[in-house]
């Protein structure tokens, strides 16, 4: 595999990092990735990341859960084995619906929450036995790492990053 070079610029403050990201973006450099120990507000916008659509998936999963609850209560209580409970026969789903509201609500939440989280884990590629990919262990403590792919502009980028307050700059061969 061909190896490509990247610059790893480390910062030790979120506000300095945010300004640095804006400065690097202003110079039209591509920022491959930023690793942070905690969420930095406005970082996704500064980096130009598209908004996440996970909330929309949660809505669709919720609708799915609701549909399954309706189908399940209808099939089990009305179609497959109708009963006369306390003089209230179950021959019509709609008329028995009030008793099914708790089930419909719980299954909506169950599906929306779990499937959204699973989608999040899959999209962000996190699951048990997955190896961590942050290049420096300090990025889960108090350092922020900006990864920029470089060609022959190492000098120029280094000067820029130093000016923005990077505390450490490494050029790394990424395999």
């Amino acid at each position: 595999m061909e190896s490509s070079k990247v610059i790893h610029a480390l910062y030790n403050d979120d506000e300095i990092l945010l300004d640095a990201v804006k400065a690097v973006k202003a110079e039209h450099h591509h920022i491959e990735e930023v690793f942070c120990p905690f969420p930095v507000h406005g970082l996704d916008k500064a980096m130009g990341l598209a908004p996440t659509r996970l909330a929309i998936t949660a809505f669709m999963y919720g609708i799915t859960g609701l549909a399954i609850a309706i189908w399940m209560t209808n099939y089990m209580m009305i179609e497959d084995w109708p009963q006369d409970i306390g003089g209230k026969p179950s021959f019509s789903w709609f008329e028995n619906m009030p008793a099914f509201v708790p089930i419909m609500f719980e299954l909506t939440v169950f599906f929306a929450a779990h499937l959204m989280v699973i989608t999040f884990y899959m999209r962000s590629r996190i699951w048990p036995f997955k190896k961590a990919e942050n290049p420096d262990p300090r990025t889960t403590d108090d350092h922020f790492l900006m990864e920029i792919p470089v060609g022959d502009n190492v000098e120029e980028l280094t000067t820029l990053l130093t000016k923005t307050g990077a505390v450490e700059i490494n050029v790394v061969d990424k395999h």
Binding site: F35, C36, P37, P39, I103, V109, I126, V171
Partner: protein
């Protein structure tokens, strides 16, 4: 930029702290050794747990007859304990979900432990209905799965089945919410672990969390949506638990104010339990600078509010019982009959522990005192147990037919299982306090600049929170990415 916070607000993180200090403080209890007190508490809890397990085996092996139940009082201690534990389990998700939606930053110091408490409490709650089945190995019959009995399905009209869905949804969603929040904190411990075994374990627990900007963006969105889903879920769970009683036709149970009143009571008891646990934990794990007087006061304010709702509900129940003029209503748990009957001691305990004691919290000195909050929280825990006991045992002890009147007396097995669940709960919580990051450190770091004492003072002096840029040596180090992994 962190959000603006009025200087008049008290700081949420005390002391002169940097991001790295927070890491050190949260990792210390995990990386250090447990002291004598921890071992003592652990062994006592373990003994209680084993005793409880013994009583459970005895119950399952011999039959439910070893409990103090009868034909009229078909459930008493078990359902009391079930509702008590579920109620305690309400504070965790309330703190992390509802307070997140209300943008209450103080939740960040306590949400992790409160959620742990929630999950462990719901475990205990779940034990009781399963044991009460008598044949717990048939417990899966409550699930709507195709079975060998022809097309015999579960009854979706039954509040007990609603409970199955509500509690299992609540437990699993709370667990996922908790674990997702834990990922960055496990990653923090993984990346600083020196022992290879510890590193392996935390690498596994952290699911390989790397903290990319996109991950954090998704993380925040998922947290927000989960909070939005968990908020009605929290309210629904105790509502449905109250349906177990409210949909029956017993006087004293057949009450339309049960759902809101149960939910308020659950939050009341949940916060009391958080107060009890954190009162001990902040000392044991040296988290005094994160769980401050201000946190204690805020929790006490929630306790006053929910305790007030509960008090109004009691008064309503008592008034309505008298106002109906119905003789049956005179034997409900809040009535003249209860106040003068054989369970008067339970009636007055309820009023004393649940209504009178929390009123002390109106006094600011008491509300901000660690020791008073701790004592009052234990009183509320006892009071809320009595509430459920009164609702169940007093109401059932006097049925419509006086010849069936009967008094419930717990046997040693009833008491043993209850003590066992308390032991089990503390075993889980003590293990958690030694191995999990007890404070959501990634979240606390986000409010350090806006709500930390150090930064608040600096801002008052007009010093910006952003540090001055120190230019690094313009030296480029060339290295291989594989070397970089071992650095630090």
């Amino acid at each position: 930029m962190s959000h603006y916070e009025a200087p008049i607000r008290e700081p949420l993180v005390l002391g002169d702290k940097s991001y790295h200090d927070i890491t050190e403080d949260i990792a210390r209890p995990i990386e250090g050794k447990a002291n004598k007190n921890w071992y003592m508490a652990f062994y006592i809890s373990l003994a209680a747990m084993l005793w409880g397990f013994g009583c459970i085996f005895y119950t399952v092996g011999t039959g439910i007859g070893v409990w103090g139940l009868s034909k009229n009082i078909g459930w008493a201690w078990d359902i009391t304990n079930f509702v008590w534990w579920v109620g305690i389990g309400h504070a965790g998700t309330l703190i992390s979900a509802v307070l997140l939606l209300f943008r209450q930053k103080w939740r960040m110091a306590i949400n992790r432990s409160a959620e742990a408490m929630t999950i462990f409490a719901v475990f205990q709650a779940g034990l009781f209905p399963i044991i009460h089945m008598g044949r717990p190995w048939n417990g899966y019959w409550v699930l709507p799965i195709p079975n060998q009995f022809g097309s015999l399905w579960v009854n979706f009209n039954s509040p007990l089945l609603w409970d199955v869905f509500a509690i299992s949804t609540y437990l699993s969603v709370s667990l996922v919410f908790w674990w997702t929040g834990l990922l960055p904190d496990f990653a923090m411990i993984r990346d600083r672990a020196v022992k290879p075994f510890q590193k392996k374990i935390y690498a596994l627990l952290s699911f390989g969390w790397s903290g990319r900007a996109k991950d954090w963006q998704r993380f925040e969105e998922v947290s927000l949506v989960l909070a939005g889903l968990a908020t009605p879920l929290v309210l629904s769970v105790h509502t449905i638990v109250s349906f177990d009683f409210a949909t029956s036709i017993n006087p004293g149970w057949h009450s339309t104010i049960f759902p809101p009143y149960f939910v308020a009571g659950a939050i009341f008891s949940g916060f009391a339990m958080v107060q009890t646990l954190l009162g001990i934990m902040r000392k044991v794990t040296n988290m005094e600078e994160y769980i401050t007087r201000l946190h204690v006061e805020y929790m006490n304010i929630v306790i006053i509010l929910t305790g007030g709702i509960v008090a109004v509900a009691y008064a309503t129940e008592f008034f309505i019982a008298w106002y109906t003029g119905s003789p049956y209503e005179n034997y409900t748990y809040l009535s003249v009959g209860a106040a003068t009957g054989p369970y008067a001691w339970a009636f007055y305990s309820l009023l004393f522990f649940n209504i009178l004691t929390p009123q002390l919290l109106w006094i600011k000195k008491i509300r901000r005192s660690f020791i008073w909050s701790f004592i009052i929280s234990i009183f509320i825990n006892i009071g809320m147990w009595f509430e459920r006991f009164d609702i169940i045992a007093i109401v059932l002890s006097k049925g419509h037919l006086p010849s069936t009147w009967w008094r419930f007396e717990p046997t040693f097995v009833d008491v043993g299982i209850f003590i066992g669940t308390i032991g089990f709960f503390f075993v889980l919580f003590l293990l958690y306090a030694r191995t999990f990051p007890v404070i959501a450190q990634a979240e606390v770091k986000t409010i350090l600049k806006s709500s930390g004492e150090f930064y608040k003072k600096r801002r008052e002096q007009g010093i910006p929170t952003k540090p001055a840029i120190v230019l690094a040596d313009n030296k480029i180090t060339e290295e291989d990415s594989s070397d970089n992994k071992n650095k630090k």
